[in-house]
């Protein structure tokens, strides 16, 4: 009887423990499942974090490339919000493309989440392209006619029309030299013999003046910048600086400078041989009255559809070291100017950092 009782109690206990064990087992299983889920969640979060870090890192690296456009192959390490990343960039040069000599930069960014669990690798290509497709071929190019009655000197591009073929003026209409103007070679100019040993002078046009050229570009902006005149706002958006007039320009000015208004200059200097300017004067008069010396390129630009007439005058011994272009008829009466094709200046206008822009290559981003 006693034994029976004891046996019955034991059975109850056994059953309870059994039941408890089953519950514990079920719970443990759930726990394992939940832990797994937690791990998945944590990894997902870490991956998301790494993604965001890689994304921020890529932006930083792009701007670092932009800050030094000459040094395109390098390794960059950094931190974003406590997470580390390392990036490598490889620059490849492509010469003589439709947009000039361009560099393609392949960026690889490997980023980690702060805890080091998540890792992401982003790749993106950048193009570093010159604003100006190629140095202008001539010191003076005008879409229109050119009638000069003052005294001027134009110093030819020694290879403007081919190897050793000098070119000084290129226009779509007539060139009429009435004053004491001459065009000459670089050596003659340097030695002060531009007037006595000219290529062209009044009544005697040499081969260095290419006027009435049916092949003159319809669109000078396309010729210079590879952007259609109609899309001139795109170019404006890329300007280093925008001003209403030319008053704040000086020798320290460099880059693409957009003047939306009249540009009146008297004396002094704009740009230097090492750091020249590319001035775009949009829908405004361009007048130099004095010994102003400009290193770089001046482009007097009348926006499409605009039929207003603007002055384009250079008097008083103005010197342009580089090139002058206009997409309308300039008024060069009584002008006294020197336009010298300066190959060094025009090379710098194409290759200097201030004239190169970094672009993302569309479709090049990938995260593998």
């Amino acid at each position: 009887m006693h034994t029976n009782h004891a046996q019955r109690g034991f059975a109850t206990l056994t059953l309870s423990v059994l039941l408890l064990s089953i519950i514990i087992l079920a719970t443990l299983y759930t726990a394992r499942f939940k832990a797994q889920e937690q791990r998945v969640m944590r990894n997902h979060a870490a991956s998301q974090e790494a993604y965001l870090v890689a994304d921020a890192a890529l932006e930083q690296v792009i701007m670092l490339i932009d800050a030094d456009r000459d040094n395109l192959t390098r390794s960059i390490d950094g931190t974003i919000a406590g997470a580390t990343y390392s990036a490598t960039t490889v620059g490849t040069r492509f010469n003589d493309t439709a947009r000039g000599d361009i560099d393609l930069v392949d960026i690889t960014v490997a980023a980690q989440s702060a805890d080091g669990r998540g890792q992401r690798t982003f790749r993106q290509s950048l193009a570093v392209m010159p604003l100006i497709r190629s140095a202008p071929d001539v010191p003076i190019a005008i879409r229109g006619a050119m009638n000069v009655s003052g005294s001027f000197q134009v110093v030819a591009n020694p290879n403007g029309g081919g190897d050793g073929v000098p070119l000084s003026i290129w226009t779509s209409d007539d060139v009429d030299i009435n004053g004491n103007g001459t065009t000459c070679g670089q050596q003659e100019f340097d030695q002060g013999n531009c007037a006595s040993l000219p290529f062209s002078e009044r009544g005697d046009h040499g081969v260095d003046i290419l006027d009435n050229d049916p092949n003159f570009p319809d669109d000078l902006m396309m010729y210079l910048f590879g952007i259609e005149e109609a899309n001139w706002t795109d170019l404006k958006a890329m300007a280093t600086a925008e001003y209403e007039n030319c008053d704040s320009l000086n020798a320290a000015s460099t880059g693409l400078i957009w003047i939306s208004g009249p540009c009146e200059l008297s004396s002094g200097q704009i740009g230097t041989e090492e750091n020249p300017v590319a001035l775009v004067i949009q829908d405004g008069d361009f007048r130099i009255n004095g010994s102003m010396q400009i290193f770089g390129m001046v482009f007097a630009f009348r926006t499409p559809g605009n039929i207003a007439t603007y002055d384009f005058k250079m008097n008083g011994g103005a010197v342009i070291q580089g090139a002058v272009m206009a997409n309308f008829d300039p008024d060069l009466s009584n002008g006294n100017l020197t336009a010298r094709y300066n190959a060094q200046v025009l090379q710098n206008v194409v290759t200097n950092d201030a004239f190169r822009r970094v672009y993302r290559v569309g479709g090049s981003w990938h995260d593998f």
Binding site: N4, G9, L13, L15, S16, L19, L20, I23, I24, T30, A31, K34, E37, Q38, M41, R42, A45, E49, Y51, L52, A56, E59, Q60, M63, L64, A67, I80, A98, R99, M129, R133, D137, P158, N159, G161, G162, D163, G164, V165, L167, N180, Q187, Q191, S196, G203, D204, V207, L210, D213, N215, M222, G226, D234, A343, V358, Y359, R360, V361, G362, G363
Partner: protein
């Protein structure tokens, strides 16, 4: 007993048993429930965090599609399911100035650019948990000022850049002879080489000359061209000793094409000189300094002057001016010497080139070269000369049909020289291979120059009374009082009366020939060339015994008024001259060779006793003095000069 037990069994568990079992299970289940609660909570939290990160990412995407300048701080709330998340983003400008700097940092660029290089955006997502606790997820994003839409230029190809195409207008015979650089008469694609602009110009002062001309090589098909702008100068220099000087530039053969030697125009140590005075061409600074060789240059075969008797330093010989003709005294350091240099314009500036080397000389009448058959025979001759020079064989015989028979009158003769630059042995071998392989355009690989030397050679006639030839000094000054109009005449035969006269042109070798000057070096006189032709004059109409024939000839001079002074006219005015006669049976010709040649007219072979007038006109505004020449009862050769003035 069995039934008792069964009864006992059927009675169930005792209360105590049940209680114990319940306690055990309750303890276990209580623990499990709290465990499950934790599980649930953390699950929810993890889901919320993931949700928050996704919201942050969405915010980032929105910011990425915001114009860079419009990216600014802001707040928002987002509801996901029954949960509301507060989104706060704070944008800070970042300037890169060696390191990344933001507002308030030391070393920010000054002045601060309108837009920073990048913007860092701290995105905070906060929400309240079920239990009332505050949760936050913070991420840091960066956005560069180079936005994605800038990339349009990368994927759009601009229209082709139209570059200026300078069409070359080939020069006209007899002044300029175009040599086709192919042996194939039927070739469609070939290059043509011609030397144009032979315009000797006397420098502003002194007796120093500089002679400029261009050698143009152009592609018949594409009109692309290469211009070699040569200037040859003579200078008086002083020898200075050892110093820095440039080696010559030259053309070498690369990839089957003639290209400038990239190793040319290098500074090396050698003897150098200085101009004796400033009263000569600016080019003399280069000429005096650089026109010397050293042993390295001599060994490499890249020298200014070929010389078989070099100085110990490897230099070629230079001579003092007083002994030039005897070549007896060599100039040493400190002494003055006479120099001549050939230079070519490279990238706008004249660079030193090796001296000219005359290889052959030919005199013909202008008529001969104007005639297509004559021009073709001459260019064939040029190619044959260059071929034998390359192959090292004997030069071909001069053209045999150049002699002329003329009536009294003025006739321009033309002297043309063939020059060849020294080529390296590999270069010569490459050309020989091309010849052996029957490559029609082998000659395009040879740096040869065919030059009009009419105004530079020394002319002489054996019987001046029968036919004289002009040989005026090379003088281009303008002095109307003394009959100087900036031009001079050479090689113009004045046929007078029946008989024969041998007309001869002599040209010095080297630079002296191109400068029309005395030789400065023994090699320049030893490599001199001459060429002659016979002029037969017949001053009787018919086969002798007919009416006597005479001529009316003269010079056409031109002066251009500029800045209150007269200067010589440019070719435009000379080319505007037209001459008419009152007698249709009399024709007058007009001749003008290049800038420096004196214009002339000739009404030749006019029967004796003729009376007529000659009228001059210009369509470029020139006024003639006289504008009409009246000839009555012509009984001798007559000469009338006219002067055209342009105001």
């Amino acid at each position: 007993m069995t039934s008792k037990i069964n009864r006992m069994h059927g009675r169930g568990f005792t209360f105590v048993e049940l209680l114990v079992a319940l306690v055990i299970i309750a303890v276990g289940v209580a623990g499990l429930v709290s465990l499950q609660r934790t599980y649930l909570q953390s699950s929810v939290r993890a889901a919320e965090r993931t949700e928050a990160l996704e919201i942050a990412q969405e915010r980032l995407e929105l910011l990425r599609f915001t114009e860079f300048e419009d990216i600014a701080s802001g707040t928002d709330t987002v509801t996901r399911g029954d949960k509301t998340y507060a989104v706060t983003w704070t944008a800070a400008p970042q300037y890169f100035n060696g390191v990344w700097l933001t507002t308030g940092d030391v070393g920010l660029p000054s002045p601060l650019p309108a837009q920073p290089d990048a913007k860092s955006v701290a995105i905070d997502i906060s929400w309240t948990t079920r239990g009332g606790g505050a949760e936050t997820v913070a991420i840091e994003a960066w956005l560069g000022s180079i936005t994605g839409r800038d990339g349009g230029l990368v994927i759009t190809e601009p229209a082709a850049r139209s570059e200026p195409q300078v069409t070359y207008n080939p020069g006209a015979a007899p002044e300029v002879i175009a040599v086709r650089l192919t042996d194939d008469d039927n070739a469609n694609l070939f290059q043509v080489k011609e030397t144009t602009r032979p315009t000797p110009q006397v420098e502003r002062s002194g007796d120093k000359l500089s002679v400029r001309f261009d050698t143009v090589t152009y592609d018949e098909a594409t009109q692309t061209q290469r211009v070699e702008d040569f200037v040859t100068v003579n200078c008086s220099c002083t020898m200075r000793g050892f110093g820095e000087g440039a080696t010559p530039s030259r053309l070498i053969l690369e990839d089957g094409r003639l290209t400038l030697d990239p190793n040319g125009n290098q500074q090396v140590t050698k003897i150098y000189g200085e101009p004796l005075n400033v009263d000569q061409s600016e080019l003399c600074t280069q000429c005096c300094r650089d026109h010397h060789d050293n042993s390295d240059m001599a060994n490499a075969g890249v020298v200014y002057k070929q010389d078989d008797n070099r100085t110990p330093s490897g230099n070629h010989r230079h001579y003092t001016p007083e002994n030039i003709f005897g070549f007896s005294t060599r100039a040493t350091v400190g002494q003055n010497y006479e120099e001549s240099c050939r230079m070519r314009r490279i990238d706008g500036y004249y660079a030193m080139y090796p001296d000219w080397q005359l290889q052959a000389l030919t005199v013909t009448s202008a008529e001969y070269l104007i005639n297509a058959a004559g021009a073709a025979a001459y260019t064939d001759y040029v190619r044959a000369v260059v071929r034998s020079l390359v192959l090292g064989t004997a030069l071909p015989a001069p053209l045999s049909d150049r002699d002329i028979s003329v009536a009294p009158g003025a006739y321009q003769m033309i002297g043309r020289g063939i020059y060849l630059d020294t080529m390296s042995s590999e270069h010569v071998q490459a050309v020989r291979t091309a010849i052996n392989n029957n490559e029609a355009d082998w000659i395009s690989k040879v740096p040869f120059y065919e030059v009009n030397l009419t105004l530079l050679g020394e002319w002489a006639a054996s019987q001046p009374t029968v036919a004289s030839v002009t040989n005026q000094p090379i003088e281009t000054i303008v002095d109307p009082e003394n009959n100087y109009y900036g031009t001079y005449s050479r090689g113009r035969v004045q046929a007078q009366t029946s008989g024969q006269s041998i007309v001869d042109i002599d040209v010095m070798g080297g630079n002296a020939g191109v400068l029309g000057s005395d030789p400065l070096h023994p090699l320049e006189s030893s490599t001199a060339q001459s060429s002659s032709l016979t002029v037969t004059v017949d001053s009787q109409a018919g086969d002798g015994g007919g009416t006597a024939l005479f001529s009316v000839t003269g010079e056409v001079n031109c002066l251009l008024m500029q800045n209150g002074r007269y200067r010589s006219c440019t070719n435009r005015y000379y080319n505007s001259v037209s001459i008419t006669t009152s007698d249709l049976n009399i024709s007058c010709t007009y001749s003008k060779q290049g800038n420096a040649d004196t214009g002339s007219y000739s009404c030749s072979g006019i029967p004796a006793g003729t009376s007529f007038t000659i009228s001059f006109s210009s369509d470029a505004g020139g006024v003639f003095q006289p504008s009409t020449i009246t000839v009555s009862d012509l009984q001798q050769n007559e000469q009338y000069n006219v002067l055209m003035t342009v105001d």
